[in-house]
């Protein structure tokens, strides 16, 4: 009598395991992942096989880390190229990308988004086009950092973009904490690895802007970060 019951249990267990395995396979197929991502399922959970790299630090962990970058005063505002830190969502970014014809792809299970060849008009400062825009999302799916890389073979557009960004961030957020080097074209253009840098540190906001002579071109990198409070 016990034998058929045991067999039935084994059959059920095998069936359940097989079904779980089949579901695991299906949800990892790229077209299915894309379909899930479009519906807000970013897959940021832990991969039981150790392949997951998309874990996002929780707010307490971020807060502890962010203390190293925190300033004493609050920012007047937290400019981030038209995005709103701690508010803009993945869906907002997808809408922004569609509206501006920008190609973006999700990385690390969707918690990071990389966009390429972003026209200047798509970024609020309207300066140079960005060859890359990288966006970090937190564990709630809200934007916490925007980084851009822009380059130009001529020093003048980069020098003038640096000055415009510095002016805009200073006006909107407050005075910078650190300033180093000069973005004047004759200084920046003087030799490779010349760099102008300005950094802003507030209680919940950090921005770092660098104009760098990289030899064959001039590169402007900007980073706007929401610090966890």
């Amino acid at each position: 009598m016990a034998r058929p019951a045991t067999r039935r249990i084994w059959r059920w267990a095998g069936g359940v395991l097989g079904l779980a395995f089949a579901i695991m396979l299906v949800v990892h197929l790229p077209p299915v992942r894309g379909w899930l991502a479009a519906r807000g399922h970013h897959g940021g959970g832990v991969c039981p096989l150790g392949y997951g790299t998309g874990q996002v630090a929780d707010r307490a962990t971020r807060r502890a880390h962010d203390d190293a970058w925190r300033g004493a005063l609050p920012a007047l505002a937290r400019p981030a190229l038209g995005f709103t830190l701690d508010v803009t969502t993945r869906a907002d970014i997808e809408r922004w990308a569609r509206a501006n014809g920008v190609a973006c792809h999700a990385m690390n299970g969707g918690v990071r988004i990389a966009c390429v060849d972003v026209p200047a008009a798509a970024l609020a400062d309207g300066g140079l086009a960005a060859s890359s825009v990288w966006l970090d999302l937190d564990d709630r799916g809200a934007l916490i950092a925007v980084t851009t890389v822009r380059r130009d073979p001529d020093v003048r557009p980069v020098a003038s973009a640096f000055a415009a960004v510095e002016h805009a961030v200073t006006t909107r957020a407050g005075a910078p904490t650190t300033r180093a080097g000069s973005a004047a074209p004759d200084v920046l253009g003087h030799g490779a690895l010349r760099q102008a840098m300005v950094e802003y540190r507030f209680t919940t906001y950090r921005a770092v802007v660098r104009a760098t002579h990289v030899g064959d071109a001039f590169v402007l990198t900007e980073q706007y970060v929401a610090l966890a409070d």
Partner: protein
């Protein structure tokens, strides 16, 4: 049946691959196995008229190397792989094979490479007491990492330049009166098109 198992195996590997995301031929060694001088050996620093290694010495190179590692760690802690890509997270995994070295070996080899590249000896004993060789195959060291041009530029601007300037490498207006050693004896190696080409897109 066998076909089914093979098909399932193929599907499995395809699916698991989707679960995450996301050094040249050693041109520095001649046919006789002798290392040629590093690419920065002939450069002259504004401040001394000598190359970077002879100007700053081994201890300064170790300091700058550790600053590069610290800057990368801070960047990865703050932003994960967003800005620098996932190359650094692969160190020690062996996948791709260029990442087989563990973190300590990677750090020591980077120091040895910098020392050699800027005019120092072809091998050094690093702070961990291990001897590392400077001349390295940059293409092989970066193969399979798919580093982009923007990631490389971001690395130079936000990791390398701050590591140099924060650790005493002179970065004045240029010339003997206000030396620019960053520009005169460090920059040409890092910013050379050939060096970038040996790292990007491999």
């Amino acid at each position: 049946m066998l076909k089914g198992i093979l098909g399932l195996a193929a599907l499995t590997s395809f699916a698991i691959a989707g679960c995450g995301d996301d050094g040249n031929n050693n041109n520095n060694v001649d046919a006789g196995g002798n290392a040629q001088p590093g690419p920065g050996a002939a450069l002259k620093c504004d401040s001394s008229g000598k190359n970077a290694f002879d100007t700053y010495g081994a201890a300064a190179f170790v300091t700058v190397n550790k600053a590069i590692i610290a800057n990368v760690t801070a960047e990865m802690t703050a932003h994960g792989t967003t800005n620098l890509g996932d190359s650094f997270t692969k160190i020690g995994t062996g996948n791709p094979p260029s990442t087989a070295d563990n973190g300590a070996t990677f750090e020591g080899k980077l120091a040895a490479f910098l020392v050699y590249a800027y005019g120092g000896p072809t091998s050094i004993t690093y702070s961990d007491g291990v001897k590392y060789t400077g001349p390295q195959d940059m293409v092989a060291a970066h193969t399979g990492l798919a580093i982009t041009s923007d990631q490389f530029d971001y690395f130079v601007a936000n990791i390398v330049v701050p590591a140099l300037t924060a650790n005493g490498v002179k970065h004045g207006a240029g010339g003997a009166a206000d030396p620019d050693d960053v520009g005169s004896c460090f920059a040409p190696v890092v910013t050379s098109a050939a060096f970038k080409a040996s790292i990007v897109g491999k």
